[in-house]
Symmetry: D2
């Protein structure tokens, strides 16, 4: 029963290129030749072309074993390809874990779940800090050996508290902010400081039931399925690019409390899937939509 | 491989009581005693109490074999129980198939599917007429040996066409109107003439994407699941009580046409499930929601 | 955001009657009259009749507020009804939490999940002891403030270890044993001491992939969905009555480790659903199958 | 509402290369350069590497608009690449519809569904003949304007009938044989004549419930989900490579007839999905498993 953990599996480092540009012939040939000439072996290649606007997206993952270019040289060789195709190109290495912060309010389930997955090696990340407007999760954070910052907030101290949170994130130098049922609305300034780097879990099947108390809204409308949505946060509340969604069946027997209970299991799983997709460099933002390559 | 059809299974007639009233002690005892005293055997009993508003709903199905009360006598015996508990009580018999009309526009898939299920004995109904604003389905109707009425419509003839449809429904004396992708908006007058007796299939996961072109809306929003909703039609477009919903997973690879194709399979199944639930007397309307007992 | 917990909701005590007998007229009338005469209000009533063997099953839940019979009197009044219909009848009270033991081996996810749900008030139970053949979970048990017993086992000490486990269960006087990924095979003697009172989670969609290493088996067979099964344990390994099952989609991209990771999320949820159904007195065993009433 | 059909969408011809070989550096570069040098634009590229046995699979789809090599020249240019990497390489063109035969027994639902999808342009195929051991579907075939051959069979005439079927398939020169609930067991000789070119729908979640009467088996075992499996047919009954599977939830309320009814909706959809995947050149066989690229 001694299972090799996911993290062991990833121990041989790989490089991931995440590319977006206008569709045109020759992109695959140019990038795959560059990798091949350097001695790399491509282990995953996925692409997507939007037939409407002609946008092109590609993910190339190749092994660094036997790859003769160091990270500077690769950057150097990529430069003319990027220029030729007018690409946006992210270069990621699987041995560089993303630094993440988790923000939570009172409800603990998403926070606990992410910490558990992180400690079991399921999430390729380094959780630097947990921030909450409630003191409740300090014990949990201690248990998982992660820094916990309590940033209480009142209607009057909203701006001040957000500045404190911002400075904590800056101190921790994080790459990704995960809102694990963090119920405070973020200002446009805050959001614009982290473009495509804040993931939220909303407890409805967006765009249905935007805003507050979605399980109450769902109960009132009498839906037969409830859902949850993981999305990047933008300045428009609950309208950012969707990364993942899922639903579960409910019935007239389920009151609001039962919806909340059923929903919790969904929230946990969908948020974890979305965070994992982001951390594995499988998500590209395309306007208000996402391209999520298979994991 | 000679499968007994569903209709054979139902050949021994049964009675279904569908009850709604305020929750209070004694309802089950009163109704079950009445059935027992008449010599009936209850084969299904389901109930639901809404804890918020105290509404009570019950479905009792019992075998008529050995039941000594004829249909008039049953009605007579029920009267004091109905009065005592201030019930709304529907009395249905499984040997009395509901008469239904199917309305369709250009897309054929829901229409074909309902006719196929009907002819295979899966729907306990008598399809009296198919009405369409397009001439295309006449051949299909002939094949299934059902009356077909072509009622063309233009923006100018809307009211007139609806009156024609109304009179055809009246002539056919139908119990239920099924909108099988019928794309004409019905007037408030039309709808109010058939309260709780018009079922529509909307090609989105309501309340998301109400109104026109939901698959375009879904594509534009970048959702990761698309859905469909079967609901009773009320005067408020796409806002009637929901009977059933379902979803299917989509991805960035799916353009609008692919969503439409994936959605068709859902539309067919969810509409058939909702119509079947209604025809089996398993649906009660509760404000703008439904109680759907298990089938 | 102050959610009333599930346990608060259940704070007004109720009685549940779980009945099994041969189908015959008058059962509903007899039981519902008994409840009504005592002043009880039925809040849930579900029944099932097996058309093949004529077995009848019923669950009646009624409020004890205003019910004039105490627990002895109810037992007394039920006796003649039980005799008349030759019933098996369980009488449960929602204010008497079941005492449960959780057995686990190395993998922690199901254990952690059950303890978390228990402490959040989601499971109406009293977890008396956690038993494991590994020492790893002692810290977790301490955190959740529950007794932890480490019962190591070797191929030579199997019988002895099982006797130790048995005596711990007896000491804790438990009503239900939950195997939360406990990988030791139980003897027929052990199993027969807890008929219908041991729930196991098997990591395959039974009856596919019985026995050891089901994710390896699933990968080898190239299935496109993997599943899990919660079932009562009988003397026949992996063949006891199924309480709940669920599946998730996989693809050629998923190696055994990925199946294991995807499976874990299913195991947690399906085991929790099955345990909850049992604890809410919604499960009846019918030969090698179960009747699971809606929750 | 005038929807462009799927077939219109595909009207600009494309070429698909389906490649299998041992994993090694340079494959992507070689193939993508070949396409690029010919003036082609790659619109889809998916690959899979099996980490256990080092097998490599790739699908490249490129537009023929602007591609300067004709079909002979492409074959010619591919030859050295195929030799260098010891590839199996299928070259498909989307303007060459596969010729298919559908075999059915008594149950009509899968046959009707495939014919309907074909006629609506959803399946890129040319249905050449429908063959059945029952006379029942002749009218349907006429309606859909497809050749119908009735090949009755008795236990004594099995071999003879199969030879007749074989000769009809040869006459129709089909590329793919679809068993749409065809209940006759095929001989090893027949199967070996169509390697990877016979698709069957089995009405269980294989490997559970292999063999006859799977819905009866499922009911007897008391499963809480039933499933269906589309697979390539091999000499081992119900053991060929799985293309697609799906399940639906059932309960103690569902007798065998209800399982059959619920199962029919699954059979139709899963068979259609599998046939579509095959016809879109998205399936590669890998031992007893399949690689199914996204559609």
């Amino acid at each position: 029963m001694s299972a090799p953990s996911d993290s062991e599996k990833d121990s041989r480092p790989r490089c991931v290129l995440l590319v977006a540009c206008r569709d045109q012939p020759g992109i695959v040939a140019a990038l795959s030749s560059l990798v091949y000439d350097g001695g790399g072996n491509i282990v995953d290649l996925q692409q997507h072309t939007d037939p409407v606007d002609g946008a092109f997206f590609q993910r190339i993952e190749f092994e660094l074993d036997g790859f003769r270019l160091d990270r500077d040289e690769l950057r150097h060789r990529l430069a003319p390809v990027i220029e030729r195709f007018e690409m946006a190109c992210q270069v990621r290495y699987t041995d560089q874990a993303a630094r993440i912060a988790i923000l939570a309010s009172r409800e603990p389930h998403c926070l606990h779940d992410l910490l558990t997955r992180w400690r079991s090696g399921e999430l390729p990340a380094d959780v630097r800090v947990v921030i909450s407007n409630h003191p409740d999760h300090a014990g949990v954070a201690t248990r998982f050996d992660v820094d916990y910052r309590h940033c209480p907030v009142t209607p009057e101290t909203r701006g001040e508290q957000e500045r404190l949170v911002s400075s904590l994130l800056a101190d921790a130098d994080v790459d990704l902010v995960v809102l694990a049922r963090y119920m405070q609305i973020l200002s446009a300034d805050f959001v614009s400081a982290w473009p495509g780097r804040i993931i939220n879990i909303h407890h409805s099947f967006l765009p249905a039931f935007q805003g507050a108390r979605p399980y109450h809204q769902a109960h009132g409308r009498g839906v037969k399925l409830i859902g949850v949505t993981a999305h990047y946060v933008t300045a428009d509340l609950d309208e950012g690019p969707i990364i993942d969604q899922d639903v579960t069946r409910v019935s007239h027997r389920d009151d609001v409390e039962a919806l909340r209970r059923r929903g919790r299991d969904l929230e946990v799983i969908v948020l974890a899937r979305a965070v994992r997709a982001h951390l594995e460099h499988r998500v590209l933002i395309h306007g208000n939509r996402t391209v999520v390559f298979d994991g």
